[in-house]
Symmetry: C2
Subunit: 392 residues, 2 copies
Amino acid sequence: MPPDEPINPKTRRRRPPATGGENFSFTLSARQGRARAGLFKTPHGDLLTPVFAPVGTQATVKAITPAQLQALDASLILANTYHLYLRPGDELVAEMGGLHQFMGWSGPILTDSGGFQVFSLSDTRKVDEDGVTFKSHIDGSLHRFTPEKSISIQENLGADIIMAFDECAPPCEREYNQRAMERTHTWARRCIEQKTRPDQALFGIVQGGVFPDLREQSAAFISSLGFPGHAIGGLSVGETKSEMHAMLEVVDRVLPEDKPRYLMGVGSPEDLVNGVLRGIDIFDCVLPTRLARHNAAITRSGRLNMMNLVFAHDPLPLDEGCACYTCQHFSRAYLRHLVVAHEMLAATLLSIHNIHTLLQLVRQIRLAILENRFDRFAAEFLAHHANTEESE
Amino acid sequence: MPPDEPINPKTRRRRPPATGGENFSFTLSARQGRARAGLFKTPHGDLLTPVFAPVGTQATVKAITPAQLQALDASLILANTYHLYLRPGDELVAEMGGLHQFMGWSGPILTDSGGFQVFSLSDTRKVDEDGVTFKSHIDGSLHRFTPEKSISIQENLGADIIMAFDECAPPCEREYNQRAMERTHTWARRCIEQKTRPDQALFGIVQGGVFPDLREQSAAFISSLGFPGHAIGGLSVGETKSEMHAMLEVVDRVLPEDKPRYLMGVGSPEDLVNGVLRGIDIFDCVLPTRLARHNAAITRSGRLNMMNLVFAHDPLPLDEGCACYTCQHFSRAYLRHLVVAHEMLAATLLSIHNIHTLLQLVRQIRLAILENRFDRFAAEFLAHHANTEESE
């Protein structure tokens, strides 16, 4: 397959495109402004949107069990193609019955394409029109991803939602973004061409950095390819919040309304509200679990650093009124003790609380949309919610 | 209080002794040979004996939540007085409502006296007749434990079962053991004198190293003091298995039958069977959780090191026929992946399996005693169970 010549899907396509056919369907239950409440059916269960996916990079959401995730009523989780390809290897995962069986998660799973991780290895990767050559962060060994390889790995992993292989450029370099966007478009067609499994939905990815015309062009091109869902990549990677919001607004006007939109790698509480306000249905982010491993709790009064001496004698739960297991059973004093004593349970209990907080927020958002009061909910939330991105 | 003059409990005692009164009762349901199946009632619930207590040194059984412990049907857990005194401090725990509330465990708790840990700090402690001065392993600060201090800390912590402050000597030095035993006896009386809470049962500790006459003497003296339960200390600290068994047999002949016997710090599967065969009712050990953090699983075919390459493609559970959450949901291949990828979930899932294995074993032992077939059970177990203390 000549790498520099875009494939014409009309002549090359020998099988149904990326829609996933009857295994998937997306219906909107309600709208308010640009915000949407929907139902996305997948082979491993229904997703009520907006939905937030905790991240299980290496086939585990760090520090918690699938049973704990289920008790949190998590519906979708994300796993990383780059990591699982390197370790334990996608072929091993396939041999063990696929990712659902391997990691003991029977609900829907989404895998990324590996593109974002590979392009983050800025010193050790080399991109060409056909793909990317990179060195493993584990042992320095040399590997190569192409669109075809990414799809083939993701078919081995067997997630319900898989992603087209894209190039993620630094958000503010226009020329680089133009080239990366064009490459992403070519690669999107090659991913569609490569895909074979009808039980996976392949999403296309919109790129274009912080440039409205590129984003518009990318959204138009990607949505012309017939994907069953669309992702917005290359955001939350260094640009400002207002640049991100502007890009979401541009893309929202172009993407078809009847397919789910996924904002990749985004998920502070404020980002979730701002994303839904701009038409986003699906989010994922390492924030709740990463903060937990750094001893921090996401609360309505902002971020709490549980190492802080002020919590030593504090009998209150992390967040009063929170219904999670952690807040129902443990004081801030106990959590601080666990943190200070380097106990693993700290990361577990903080992860449970942080994931619950984000899942609960998207459930509240969905209800507010269904009850036609999301505009007020969002305004109030953004006015009063302490900034989670700064530690107290 | 003169440190070198044993207190006469007849003249000094101003309150009921260490029995714990009506808050505790111990009844034997069945016996076979020396083995006993009993019921020990405590203020936080009933213990079906023989019972195995997982260890929660710093007010957490490492890597698992109280809810997971509850799902494992654990009934008793142990916490360490030395560690909790240093961090977060027993007064803080008392201020937070005591250990049960602090750590979110509503079942029975046992605390040790701190003696064993302090005497393990061989380079940084100094013992005299009144107590022990030692340096904190955390910051090197100087502290002092006396029998009175140990009881006062344990009253602040608020466990259901608390321990007399004892001196644990190297098991094979006769003179040292003689002195340590005498000191332990004097201190036992001082502990009884100090104790005030009726909702705690204070157990006396038998010392005497590997010397039958000392053990006999110690068991006779300690059981003359009216404790509601008796512990056997200073074993599983370097002596041989047959020395340990001989000491258990000596002590078993002397201790009253109508009170529970607790073998401190012991708990490999073989040790549990051998202990019950020699009249023991209560065990505790870090083995299941410590092995888990060192990537090892306790199975009927011996110890499995999950780092081992042989498990890379192994779709079987850790132990076929095991009903624990880990074995019901995850393959050896997945567990090996978690270990190799340094994921915290490895320690959690291995801890769940290892604790389940020991709890299940004591449940089987109890049933075998009730059904009058423990002799065969034990013979078969000891003939066929692979040695857990060696890694494959």
